[in-house]
Symmetry: C3
Subunit: 330 residues, 3 copies
């Protein structure tokens, strides 16, 4: 998340009421969760084993629960509760809107070459390109941008700040931009990370019925151009999917993962968070990815391995089962 | 299901037109399916191999298709079709309402400190606590109770009799309280069990987009306080989930299961009906539970075993595959 | 897809501007994708390895990208882009309608013994039988036929041309008749196959919440009478499911598959495209079908095998793991 205006270290420290380490005028240009930081960003860390990762990441300001010497050119904000303070900053600079707020209610009209079905609900600052059709009962949150020649079928929900390119097609009852499943454990329950990122569907993306795509917590969930996603697929927050991918029905991809261009995931595949699947990889149906996978290969199994190897293992298991059986019958 | 007024054995026998075994004035205080019976309940059984289980359950009145001596203090109703007669009783004492019935239609108003989006449909006897936001196109069935500080996103459907606590958050297009997938096989097809139970979401529960939670057939489907459920999850009828659980995307839990407190189910895990997963158990992604599992352990695989053991098996399979290959190449 | 009027070979050749092989007056009665062709149909093929399959299929006219001698009694249309031309013909003879088009908006009325909830959107030429209840916010596309005694819960989307029998029950937020996930790869992306087929739900079918059923591309997706489908299930285009089947939650069935009568698929099973599962087969939870399976057997595993065999393999793997461990400890 870029800030509209860069903030000084001292101003953020005063806002949170916490001490800081570094030059008072050190600038913070954005706020991002560790997986998606870029130089100029503030990030947070509250678990000792991730201190090094956070300090050595691209982030230049770290909200942390221990005073340690920062790397050169970086600054610290010392907080007893980095997660809560990080959430406070997200909310302060980018407050989410409530689900009952809307701006316009359109029904059965064509305006500016946009075709509205019955009972379309539209938030503030929404723009829609020409020759786009918005189906009945579609709800569009604030600040959503929708391109030209888009088709959205009935009962779709599009959360605030979503960006939809041209020639995108979204089947009925899909949900674009729902909140991230991201919590901090507390003794009494769990604290939710706010979702201040966006969801971006590039040109020619197609989304299946009842598919759900969570928006980023601080960065963007991105579906690359020409990628086609089938029904009942789950895409987690901050995940970036490349161009021309095929994601078959009931695939689940957790948060903050990277699916490079031309990847094919067949039905019911599972991908965990924070892994990369290389360009042009194919993952066969029901496979469960456990760690990053190189491109240009075919994978199978749960955990997923190269398909040839996995099949060989299954053949060997079958042969050994026959041997056991023969042995038992001697 | 508790009855509003307890009924005598003879009055139920007359209602069904069937004979009974036991004192005419023996009282029936509730009606429940075998997995959720408590003392005072009537239950049914129509398969000989389950006679013993039903007779020895907490139920004190059994609707059964054979005359056998009841345990001391229990009574029988003898019916040629216990399933059909049980359904008849459910419908008689708790008739479900049709999906076209509603009471109020709210749009873009705040009343009693409840914020309504556009086109909110509300059934009879619905109560909603203050500072709650109801998103656009949300449909709320009869007798639903919703607490304070709840957020419900657009296009959510909440079936009748659902109880929602305080600080609950429900993402778009989720379905709370749909009917149980529970049938009796008949020569010509299948007879549906009526769903007369409720769904209860306790305080601080969060529900993901397009997730579905079936209501109980006679008892309640319960999601314990502080439990967080991700997108596209299925929770079956009469299942009871404890407090502070994490249920990741695309998990499926069948009916009448028990998930104790602090359980974590990662993505795409499957849990069958009528099992218990012990407190603080963790089940890794894509695992398939086959029977009850002890708490405080980590499980993996389909069928699920302790994860360490399952991983060891997978390592052994890999080693043996290498041995086979070497042997072949000698 | 049957044509309203049969077309001559020469008329179609002229429409597409392509040469043909065969008698000018050769008749084309319908247009179908290869998996669902019947005599009289035109189909297409553009990959050499499938030429034989297409030419020897039931189709009597083949749209093809190479001039080869057709089998006796069959005709060819020679096109540089059979996929695109096939799509052109589908659109020409059966143009799909846009999602913003509707005919009527009903709210809280009973007409001709049909009960409408709030805000029901209805397309052109829709017929609905008596004693049917249509829930709030349900969207019904053009030319849909719905039988008697049907119950449709809120927020369901039914795409155009769907046929729904009597006594059908559809839970909330389900999607019936969404477009097929079927593309032709192109250098710059993918070309979508139009979906001109229908979805047919026969009598007594029940559909779970948030379940999605794609319509056929040229033929029909059919759910046989008395089949019960649970929540979050995916059924692909042109798949035909028999009578009295049980499809548990989160099952995924790809396109153009055949599930015969009385099949049981337990939770999270995956079925690929173009396979047949024989009558009365049972497939246990989380199994992944890889090829056609005989009826009257029980299957398990991913890939699915006969369950007894699969369990034996798993037992052998466990025993070998113990042996390895003992050996290591000698």
């Amino acid at each position: 998340m870029r800030l509209a205006t860069p903030q000084t270290l001292v101003s953020i420290a005063n806002l949170l009421g916490v001490p800081y380490v570094g030059p008072a005028e050190h600038l913070i240009w954005g706020i991002n969760e560790i997986h998606r930081v870029v130089p100029g960003d503030l990030t947070f860390v509250d678990v000792q084993k991730y201190f090094k990762k956070a300090l050595n990441s691209a982030a230049t300001t770290i909200l942390i629960n221990q005073t340690i010497p920062p790397p050169k050119g970086k600054a610290l904000l010392i907080s007893p509760e980095p997660f809560t303070h990080f959430n406070f900053l997200l909310n302060y600079f980018n407050p989410p809107s409530a689900p009952h707020i809307f701006h316009e209610h359109k029904s059965n009209v064509t305006e500016n070459d946009v075709h509205f079905g019955a009972n379309v609900i539209i938030g503030k600052n929404v723009t829609i390109g020409k020759n786009t059709s918005i189906g009945h009962n579609v709800c569009i949150g604030a600040n959503v941008k929708i391109g030209e020649n888009v088709v959205i079928f009935p009962n779709v929900t599009i959360y605030e700040n979503t960006i939809i390119g041209n020639h995108v097609r979204i089947q009925a009852n899909a949900v674009i931009g729902s909140e991230a499943f991201y919590y901090k454990k507390r003794p009494e329950g769990r604290e939710r990370m706010l979702s201040c990122g966006r969801t971006i569907l590039e040109d020619y993306v197609e989304i299946g019925a009842n598919t759900t795509i969570d928006r980023g917590v601080t960065a963007d969930t991105i579906i690359g151009a020409h990628t086609k996603i089938d029904n009942l697929v789950q895409i987690g927050h901050d995940t970036v999917i490349g161009k021309r991918c095929i994601i078959a029905a009931q695939v689940g991809i957790a948060g903050a993962s990277n699916i490079e261009d031309d990847v094919i995931l067949w039905g019911q595949v599972g991908v965990p968070s924070d892994v990369t699947i290389g360009q042009n990889a194919t993952i066969l149906a029901q496979s469960g990815v456990m760690s990053s996978l190189e491109g240009n290969k075919v994978y199978f199994g749960s955990p997923a391995k190269e398909a040839k190897r996995k099949y060989r293992e299954l053949v060997v298991l079958s042969k050994i089962t026959d041997l056991f059986h023969k042995f038992k019958n001697l």
